[in-house]
Amino acid sequence: MSRSLFDKYGGFSTVSKIVLTLYDRLLDDDDVGPFFDDVDLPSIIDHQTKFVSSLMGGPASFTDEHIEKAHRHLTICPHHFDRLEALVTEVLTEFEVEPADIDTIVGAFEARRGLMVE
């Protein structure tokens, strides 16, 4: 079995820092931040931890059905999705994730665009 990106970049020790950095960027961002206006802290953190872990092949995986259901009540437009994609790329770059691996991670994210975007 090949090693997941989650393990390659140091497991939870690194991923936790990526999660918190992404969390800061998301909340400060005026495009995607408002989605979290009325969400409590544990829920946002839980969402981010699972989101990053699953993108990197960590101990979380979601079925497409689960993702679709979790985002159904939100009005996510293409520019929201693009913005989040840019933020993910930006944060991963800061953590010196190799470009090819960023492509893999963002590719996995992009592949699910249709499940979330209106």
Binding site: F12, S16, V19, L20, Y23, L27, D28, G33, P34, F36, D37, D40, L41, P42, I45, D46, Q48, T49, K50, S53, G58, P59, A60
Partner: protein, 341 residues
């Protein structure tokens, strides 16, 4: 710049929120910039309960006057981020006025980290649970393929050393006309019926301390005395064989496909081991297995063939009928007619 001015500047610059509370009026007097940043700048002398409505002020004052340190946490939203600040009140020593020092530390990051660890540990726990369930499934599967003792040895050492088991009895069964059945019937039906029949054999064998070792198409091999020695191995195996045939005869009465078996049984020694490294399988082999397979080919439809030495071991519950040569016989139950056919 005076020492007081330097002190005040220092106090304003640190990343800790500091305020002085006048306990007589319960108002916040001096506040540094960090405190203002978190709780909003206002005129001095703002009421403490205006800033922190959840504080029990009388309790706070009473405890401070007892000399206690009072710790509280307060959460509030800055834009969309939930901030948590840990507050600590201490009575100022030596001050003529009743003044409490309030020190506030930003523990938002700690709270965020706690939340993340909770989330992560729940994911890991769920995964661990799934892995455990998967491991149990694999263990059950492997225990179907090898005796527990062999499995334990395999788990510990990654291999199973070959063992000689002596004495044991081996049963070999196959079906007459199996190839014709395969040609004439739907393969799904044949596999499903074989599955039924082998499961029944396993159940019957289990009642008599016999264990299936392997199947290969229509060939079914079982053994008694492996891995634990069993004194009545031959009798147990003969009883299983008789009941296999009885089960098939009854089954054939109500099913379209007729399964006609022949059985060979033999006693002696076998070697048991896991064979193979990738596609490993627990197997027993040796002359006794070959003998049982050889006798099987001598057996008439729905009968058990063996040699005279096995008959001696099987006990008095069985009758025999000679085959063409003097060394081999057809074994039947004492109460049954000579043949099951």
């Amino acid at each position: 710049m005076s020492i007081e001015a330097i002190n005040e500047q220092l106090l304003r610059a640190i990343g800790v929120g500091v305020a002085l509370v006048d306990l007589r009026t319960l108002t916040v007097q001096f506040r540094n910039d960090t405190f203002d940043e978190w709780f909003g700048s206002a005129e001095n002398a703002v009421q403490l309960d205006t800033l922190f409505p959840d504080l029990e002020l009388s309790d706070l004052v009473a405890r401070l006057e007892e000399g206690a340190t009072v710790s509280k946490e307060v959460s509030f939203k800055v834009k969309r981020r939930t901030m948590t600040v840990a507050m600590e009140f201490n009575l100022a020593r030596g001050a003529g006025d009743r003044i409490a020092v309030l020190v506030c530390q930003n523990i938002t990051r700690i709270k965020e980290l706690e939340s993340m660890i909770d989330s992560y540990s729940m994911m890991v726990e769920r995964n661990t649970h799934e892995i455990k369930r998967e491991k149990e499934r694999v263990e059950r599967l492997l225990l179907n393929m090898m005796p527990r003792a062999a499995y334990e040895e395999y788990k510990t050492f990654g291999m199973v050393s070959p063992k000689l088991f002596d004495p044991v009895s081996v049963l070999a069964l196959d079906f007459i006309g199996f190839d014709d059945l395969l040609r004439s019937e739907d393969p799904d039906v044949i596999v499903s019926e074989l599955n039924d029949i082998y499961s029944a054999f396993d159940r019957i064998g289990g009642q008599f301390s016999c264990q299936r070792i392997r199947t290969n198409g229509d060939s079914y091999i079982a053994v008694s005395g492996v891995p634990d020695p069993y004194a009545d191995h031959a009798e147990a195996l003969a009883k299983s064989g008789v009941r296999f045939l009885r089960y098939l005869a009854r089954r054939n009465e109500t099913h379209a496909i007729q399964w006609v078996a022949r059985i060979g049984v033999a006693s002696g020694s076998v070697i048991g081991s896991v064979v193979g490294t990738q596609n490993y399988i627990y197997d027993v082999f040796g002359p006794t297995v070959s003998a049982a397979i050889g006798y099987r080919s001598m057996a008439e439809p729905m009968s058990i063939a063996t040699d005279t030495s096995f008959v001696g071991l099987a006990g008095s519950d069985f009758a025999t009928r000679p085959l063409a040569d003097t060394e081999h016989v057809i074994l039947t139950e004492q109460t049954q007619p000579a043949s099951f056919g």
